[in-house]
């Protein structure tokens, strides 16, 4: 461990002394990562994930320089998740147990329809039988969600569907357009790890809670208040 530290120090000193060409990219640059590794780091931070297929060079840099990049991310209270088989990597809030870390990435609370849509998307990934890229149509997903429309207002439900859809696209970024407009999207491989068995079980528990909290009046009141 102490060896590691000295090595890093030596590297930094090297950079400052003579071998500036290796890490210093512009006058006054004090960064210690190589050009490719910095690009990989930036791609990871900008999210939603770094794809080895789409960006082979940054992917190679990430694998070669994994330790240093992971350490840079730790300094931001972030953790690096790498899926070597499917060739993608992304950042996640570091799990810090008792230690309280500031939140670097935003946490988004999900609406009921958002959660169901995530499940349906995850199911579509399972049904794709190991295809590397899973592309689905908006219609297919919407059709599966219509069972959850209990209101008497189909137009309103369609609006909700669309707003959840744009959440998936723009806010959560778990799907992205595949080139032919928003109607067909590629499901981000990250969803595989974001919606794992634990999370699905948590969702199921939440649904059971909702089903038991049979206070329709209170809910209505609550809604009217929140919509105003």
């Amino acid at each position: 461990m102490s060896d590691d530290t000295t090595n890093v120090d030596a590297d930094v000193l090297d950079g400052a002394d003579g071998d500036t060409a290796r890490t210093s990219l512009w006058p006054g640059d004090s960064g210690v990562l190589a050009d490719g590794s910095r690009r990989a780091l930036l791609l990871l931070l900008k999210g939603p994930y770094l794809s080895g297929v789409e960006r082979p060079r940054s992917w190679a840099a990430l694998l070669a320089d994994e330790r240093a990049i992971r350490s840079r991310l730790h300094e931001l209270f972030l953790d690096l998740i790498i899926d070597r088989d499917d060739e993608f990597a992304f950042v996640r809030k570091a799990s810090t147990a008792e230690f309280e870390a500031p939140a670097t990435v935003r946490t988004v609370s999900l609406t009921f329809l958002d959660t169901v849509m995530l499940l349906v998307l995850r199911q579509a990934m399972l049904a794709a039988h190991g295809e590397r890229r899973v592309i689905v149509g908006k219609d297919e997903i919407f059709d599966q969600l219509r069972v959850y429309d209990t209101a008497v207002d189909p137009v309103g439900f369609e609006k909700r569907l669309n707003s959840s859809w744009s959440n998936m696209l723009n806010k959560l970024r778990v799907v992205h357009t595949s080139g032919s407009g928003d109607e067909r999207v590629e499901i981000s491989p990250v969803l595989k790890l974001l919606v794992d068995d634990d999370r699905v079980r948590a969702l199921e528990a939440e649904y059971r809670n909702i089903a038991q909290s049979d206070e329709p009046d209170a809910i209505e009141l609550d809604l009217e208040w929140s919509e105003r």
Binding site: D85, V105, R106, F112, S213
Partner: protein
């Protein structure tokens, strides 16, 4: 009774088969033409966006002659065709987006249309001869009786010996008549035309098998472990299926260096024969690229097979399937619970579930730039000025300065070719370039469009620039031979 059962069977086919549906539809002419133009022949797999663009361009022209719904664009048509099972969609390998290609059904339907348009007389002598030969061979190879087989082989040898003896004693070489040779080529090409359909069908079948194997693993319980054991032991389930074995035998024959060299040289000799002059350029091309097409397509399918096998093995070895089994059940349970919950909540109500984003919102004060009021200062008031009266002659001169005067050049060319063919150099000698280099460029453009170019010889062309300086250049000889209308 048999008629009824046949009728019922055919009715099911007519209703369910995508090729039949395509042939029965009103727009079959347009569908077949568009699909054949953009997905037939060599460009078999096209990026969805490129296909939409190409078809949209065609639709504009088609609308002038056919009564097509105005609002419907290529994307909507392709969606319909995909729905009807005529197009197959695949995620592109290298890029984002998807590709489209013809499904086996569409290929079959287009073949039928083609065959109706250019009927091949199936009662040819060559067809009968090859049928007879194949039957004879089959009878021979499936005969369990050694004596009879031996007898047939001896008879064959005697026939060959007699032929050898005849030729050795200076007998005349009998070659097949050109017309019958052409007939045989047509017959071979007819069979070759079925190959794309076969390839598409094989690939579709392999994909289906892959899905079936995976679904079997995912659905099965642990008591049914043979499939999983097989994959564990490295058995390629898809390759060892009936279809897989046929295909592997096909490719190994194709990749056998000796066999494919023989095939290649045979094709070359056939093309060198005198009768081959009677073949159309398209037929010659098909023959010439026959082996390469076969290799390309089978390499591609072989690649798909390998990918399936590798990912199946990983799926089993890393126990992904067990995780997926558990997860699938969890997802189903959760979705069922959600149905119950939906009666007690609104779709837009927040749940207690959070999701961490995997991206950082990056913003810094550094990206702000100062607002400079001067950038938005109102400009001075504009004066209105009267438009002067235009001199038409001046306008004409102005136009001549900016445009090549093709009218003049075409007039000169037409005047020259009235006395026989003329090169650009000869033309310039008779009518000096009035617009300098622009006239020369104009002549070259016209020559490329209407004349002959001989890139092997050069000629010197001379002109006087607008700046009154004489210039010259070497260009390939361009020759005008006929009038430009």
């Amino acid at each position: 009774m048999t008629a009824l059962s046949d009728a019922l069977r055919y009715q099911r086919l007519v209703e369910s088969d995508a090729a039949m549906r395509m042939l029965r539809s009103d727009g079959v002419a347009i569908v077949a033409a568009l699909l054949l133009t953009h997905l037939g022949a060599e460009n078999r797999r096209v990026a969805a966006d490129d296909l939409y663009e190409a078809i949209d361009a065609d639709l504009i022209e088609l609308r002038e002659h056919f009564d097509l719904p105005r609002a419907k664009n290529a994307k909507a048509y392709c969606a319909d065709w995909r729905e009807a099972g005529l197009l197959t969609r695949r995620a592109a390998v290298e890029s984002r987006g998807e590709t489209l290609e013809l499904s086996p059904a569409a290929l079959a339907a287009i073949r039928i249309v083609d065959r109706l348009e250019a009927p091949t007389t199936s009662l040819t002598e060559s067809r009968l001869a090859s049928l007879a030969a194949q039957l004879h061979e089959l009878a021979l190879e499936s005969d369990p009786d050694a004596t009879r087989r031996l007898g047939a082989l001896v008879a064959e040898r005697e026939r060959l010996d007699a032929e050898i003896a005849r030729l050795e004693s200076g007998g005349e070489v009998h070659t097949i008549e050109p017309s019958r040779a052409l007939e045989r080529v047509a017959d071979i090409l007819e069979q070759a035309a079925d190959l794309p359909t076969d390839f598409a069908r094989v690939r579709a079948r392999f994909e289906e098998l892959n899905g079936e194997v995976r679904a079997g693993i995912l659905d099965g319980d642990d008591s049914n472990t043979t499939v999983i054991d097989d994959i564990f032991r490295g058995v390629n389930l898809i390759e060892s299926s009936d279809e897989g074995r046929t295909f592997v035998a096909f490719t190994s024959l194709l990749l056998d260096p000796e066999r494919s060299a023989t095939l290649e040289s045979d094709i070359r000799s056939v093309l060198d024969r005198e009768f081959a002059g009677g073949l159309s350029p398209a037929e010659r091309r098909v023959l010439r690229s026959f082996l390469r097409t076969l290799r390309d397509r089978s390499t591609e399918i072989h690649g798909a097979l390998t990918v399936f096998a590798r990912s199946l093995r990983r799926y089993v070895q890393q126990q992904d399937y067990q995780r997926e089994r558990v997860l699938r059940r969890s997802v189903q349970r959760a979705l069922a619970a959600a149905v119950q919950a939906s009666a007690h909540t609104k779709p837009y109500r927040q749940t207690a579930i959070d999701l961490d984003l995997t991206a950082l919102p990056l913003s810094t004060a550094g990206e702000l730039s100062l607002h400079d009021p001067a950038d938005f200062a109102a400009p001075a008031t504009l004066d209105t000025s009267e438009a002067p009266v235009v001199d038409l002659e001046a306008l004409r001169l102005l136009a001549r300065e900016t445009e090549i005067d093709f009218d003049e050049l075409e007039r000169n060319v037409n005047a020259a070719v009235a006395d026989g063919p003329a090169t650009i150099g000869e033309l310039l000698a008779r009518w000096p370039a009035t617009q300098g280099v622009a006239s020369v460029v104009g002549l070259v453009v016209l020559a490329v469009r209407h004349g002959d170019v001989d890139p092997s010889s050069l000629e010197r062309v001379e002109w006087t620039g607008i700046d009154a300086i004489d210039r010259a250049a070497q260009i390939p000889v361009h020759r005008f031979t006929e009038r430009i209308s």
